[in-house]
């Protein structure tokens, strides 16, 4: 048990997966000597060799497409997409091939491919380096989509994702890479495709994932000071979307606010709002409210803090919810 950063926990989880299964490969741009631009694969090529940690040519479609071929040959490739905004050249291979091949083959072929995507903003970066494209993947049947938010989950979820026989899009909250938490690698992890209540409460359900979990927890603390008890749920799995956990909570609290960085329109919050409303219609005391990025492209870094959901905007939504 030691304080470990989220990024380091991912690195440890990858290492563990590679040790446990010789079929696990890592591939992507700069994942070798450099260890990735965020150092998540640091040291792995040195220890596992160039055959297992592959610096690829600079082309995302090639990365995903060859990973599919490697998976068909029995390997378990873990692809790194350098930044969220660079996944699109590989998108056809993800949505038209990776997502559908198991289905197309009536279950004969399995595609245990993990696509790691550092995502989200708040790091002062230039264009294409701060996107939150999770909804594009969660709308695609055949993909599993998960997001980690803390070191413990990062360590275990990356291993669980690699062990999954379906393709998994694995989102990593890049602005939390350097945040620390206690990591006990000896515990038995919870199942990956489930949401987790990270703070119990009675008055309103606050749902978040990835980088926004921290903000949600801070909002719950702040609200407590005003006498409001907020239950915070870390979604963790966006596909399958564990709405059941949220529904159960909202049946108790009667109110819900969902937070994410992605543009609000057609973000995960839309789906969650639709489901929760349908399943909790008579328990709801106010409509499910969404706090998301605005419906604009991600803005220049100097105004990203204004664009991104933050403590104040979450509390504002909580206020509005209670105002109904």
């Amino acid at each position: 048990m030691a304080p470990t950063t989220l990024g380091k926990a991912l690195n440890m989880g990858l290492r563990k997966a590679m040790e446990d299964d010789p079929k696990v490969l890592i591939m992507g741009e700069d994942v070798g000597k450099l260890g990735g631009v965020f150092r998540i694969t640091d040291g792995l090529q040195k220890d596992f060799g160039e055959d297992r940690v592959i610096d690829t040519p600079l082309a995302e479609s090639g990365i995903i497409g060859t990973a599919i071929g490697l998976a068909l040959r029995g390997y378990r490739p873990v692809c790194e997409i350098q930044f969220d905004g660079f996944v699109w050249p590989g998108y056809d291979q993800i949505v038209a091939q990776l997502a559908k091949m198991h289905y197309r083959s009536q279950g004969r072929l399995r595609l245990p491919v993990v696509v790691r995507i550092p995502f989200g903003g708040g790091i002062g970066a230039v264009e294409h380096h701060s996107e939150s494209p999770e909804a594009y993947f969660a709308h695609t049947p055949g993909l599993r989509v998960v997001v980690c938010s803390n070191p413990v989950d990062s360590y275990f979820m990356i291993q669980q994702a690699i062990a999954t026989d379906d393709p998994v899009i694995f989102f990593e909250p890049k602005r939390r890479y350097y945040e620390k938490g206690e990591l006990d690698t000896s515990i038995t992890p919870e199942p990956m495709f489930q949401a987790r209540t990270v703070r119990p409460g009675t008055d309103l359900t606050l749902v978040a994932y990835g980088p926004m979990v921290k903000v949600a927890l801070e909002a719950a603390s702040a609200a407590e000071a005003e006498g409001r008890s907020l239950e915070v749920i870390d979604l963790r799995s966006l596909s399958p979307l564990d709405s059941d956990t949220v529904v159960a909570s909202v049946r108790r609290t009667g109110r819900a606010v969902i937070v994410h960085e992605a543009s609000t329109t057609l973000g995960i919050g839309a789906e969650l709002a639709a489901r929760v409303t349908e399943e909790c219609f008579y328990s709801l005391e106010s409509p499910v409210l969404r706090v998301g990025g605005f419906d604009t492209p991600y803005p220049p870094a100097k105004v990203e803090e204004e664009w991104l959901p933050d403590l104040d905007r979450v509390l504002d939504a909580v206020d509005r919810s209670f105002g109904f």
Binding site: L25, D51, R52, T56, P57, A59, S61, G62, I64, G65, T66, A67, I68, G69, L70, A71, L72, R73, G74, Y75, P89, D92, Q93, A96, Q97, M101, H102, Y103, R104, S105, Q106, G107, R108, L109, R110, P141, G142, R144, T164, D165, D166, F193, P240, L241, D244
Partner: protein, 383 residues
Amino acid sequence: MTTESSGDLATGEPAGASVPLVQLLTPDGERVEHPDYEFDGTDEDIRGFYRDLVLTRRVDAEGVALQRQGELGIWASLLGQEAAQVGSGRAMRPQDYAFPTYREHGVAMCRGVDPVRLLGLFRGADQGSWDAEKHNFHLYTIVIGAQTLHATGYAMGIQRDGAVGDDDGAAVIAYFGDGATSQGDVNEAFIWASVMNAPVVFFCQNNQWAISVPLERQTRIPIYQRAAGFGFPGVRVDGNDVLASYAVTKAALDNARTGNGPTLIEAYTYRMGAHTTTDDPTRYRVAAELDEWKAKDPVSRVRTYLERNDGAADEAFFAAVEVEADELATRIRRETQEMPSPEPTSFFDHVYVEDTPRLTRDREAYAAYLESFDADAAAVGGH
């Protein structure tokens, strides 16, 4: 490998111009020599090719007919491309793996796939129902070019398995068309294969057309010369010559399996039919072109060879192949007509290896919903 110097490339020599191609059997059925390639098989092998060609053509004709009769939604005919497919398909060893487009019916048959299995996709009963891993023949890929990357990745897997390097090595063959050469994916596959020295053969059937778009819209030089730009050999073979297609593919696969990396083969051929049964080629090409290619028919030249060379094949042989083709056609027809449609709730299956809770719920709810109609029908009738 015969590759052209690039000196003429820069001048923009037209892509279809009379470029040397590897030919071992002329349209007139004469066997000819080539400095780099020879066909090392026997007349028995050639009889085998003949049978493959005839069966392939018959299956294809049956596909067209079944579509016309409403048994299939669509069919992609390979008419004219039989030799390219049978030659390359027969050049594979059991351990080799093929990644086809949607038109490789002849290759499929070489890999032991029952042709009825191919029809299911075109009927709309499934999306490819053969066991890819049993036949080392991947499912059809419809998105143009995507499979070339899968093939390259698979070949990288072979490298990692240590299954490349000597004569027993394995290799991969990726099929695609002339139009596909324009897709980013295909060019990325060339890069990967070249940089990784992956054991993969890129087999491009240049049938001169991508639906209505002629070759000149995809390239201004012969396709096989593309490979030189990526640092590996390219060769143009007479795709209507089964012997040459076989010999060139075999050499390339052996090159790959022994660790010498990729080759691009351009099988120069012609799509004699429509793009698919929904296409109308009279809108974009002239009949004269077809006549020209009829003279180069891939099947009849083998028959001519076998007939002309005493002892190569007798009447009984040809008759037997004919009977076999008829029987195959009859069986295909029957089994296609009898092919069951998927169950109404089958589309919930195999989205994932393990169902999600929601899929399970949706399937159950939908089954109950469907049952309600039966109940309704038993009572007053539904909406």
